[in-house]
């Protein structure tokens, strides 16, 4: 299946119409699509421990 550029995750999710497909669906098996999907979905999920914690580590070693 060719990759389609879409602007939002919500539209992206709607754009994939294979929710009822079996687990052997080749579209879902496509690792590139899987990675791209995760990249989009998880992009906001980023937590920064901060520079102070890094300095603490460097002081310990």
């Amino acid at each position: 299946m060719p990759m389609v550029k879409i602007s939002t995750l919500f539209y992206r999710v709607d754009g994939f119409d294979d929710l009822n497909a079996s687990s052997t669906n080749p579209v879902i098996m496509d690792l590139c699509i899987g990675d791209q999907y995760l990249d989009t979905l998880l992009a906001p999920l980023c937590y920064d421990p901060g520079e102070a914690l890094v300095r603490t580590i460097l002081e310990k070693v």
Binding site: G34, L38, L45, D48, P49, V54
Partner: protein, 196 residues
């Protein structure tokens, strides 16, 4: 002139040869991915901070001891160390189910001076983060593990299979089911995960 960032490989070699600033650059470069991976697995901020420290202390000790085999995948190596430390932790504590699910999103609001617009944006982003975290937490443990190792650590499915002691097909299958489940959950919950 624009400075070209040194590669992980270059920084590792520089550190091994005695450039102590190189490790700081490396840690700062990857700190968010490593910390997020640990936090999403362990679900506890103070514990995640402890394991984050342990991870990089072990990284530094391993580099000094010449135990790192450079294959150009420094981050994957760090994530594998973090993964092993998390497993060790769970084994020691034997109370996986009693780990608290505290969300320290509130820390975000103390981190810097914010205008009203920034606060509104922060609240929306925080809400999105919280919703995505909920989605990830609803995945079965084995599926979540594969998703986090793949996304934050950039591990290949062969590496994930080795790390989690399953076959490559099983690792691929877990990812497949994770993607199906994530998308079902998004639709069931009617989530909109973007800011308009």
């Amino acid at each position: 002139m624009k400075e070209i960032a040194a590669s992980d490989q270059h920084l590792v070699q520089a550190y091994i040869k005695g450039d102590h600033t190189a490790i700081e650059v490396l840690i700062n470069r990857h700190r968010s991915k490593v910390y997020t991976y640990i936090l999403l697995t362990i679900k506890n901020h103070p514990l995640a901070e402890d394991l984050f420290q342990e991870t990089f202390i072990k990284v530094i000790q391993s580099l000094r001891a010449g135990k790192y085999k450079d294959n150009g995948k420094f981050l994957s190596w760090v994530i594998r160390i973090a993964h092993n430390l998390i497993i060790d932790h769970f084994r020691k504590e034997k109370q996986m189910n009693s780990i608290s699910n505290d969300d320290s999103e509130v820390d975000l609001f103390n981190s810097k001076k914010l205008s009203d617009e920034n606060i509104e944006e922060l609240i929306i982003n925080s809400q999105i983060k919280s919703e995505i975290r909920t989605l990830i937490n609803e995945l079965p443990d084995d599926q979540r593990e594969v998703v986090l190792l793949r996304h934050y650590g950039g591990l290949s499915f062969k590496e994930i299979a080795d790390q989690t002691d399953v076959s490559i097909n099983t690792a691929l299958g877990r990812m497949r089911y994770a993607l199906i489940n994530l998308r079902k959950l998004i639709q069931e919950k009617k989530l909109s995960l973007t800011v308009y």
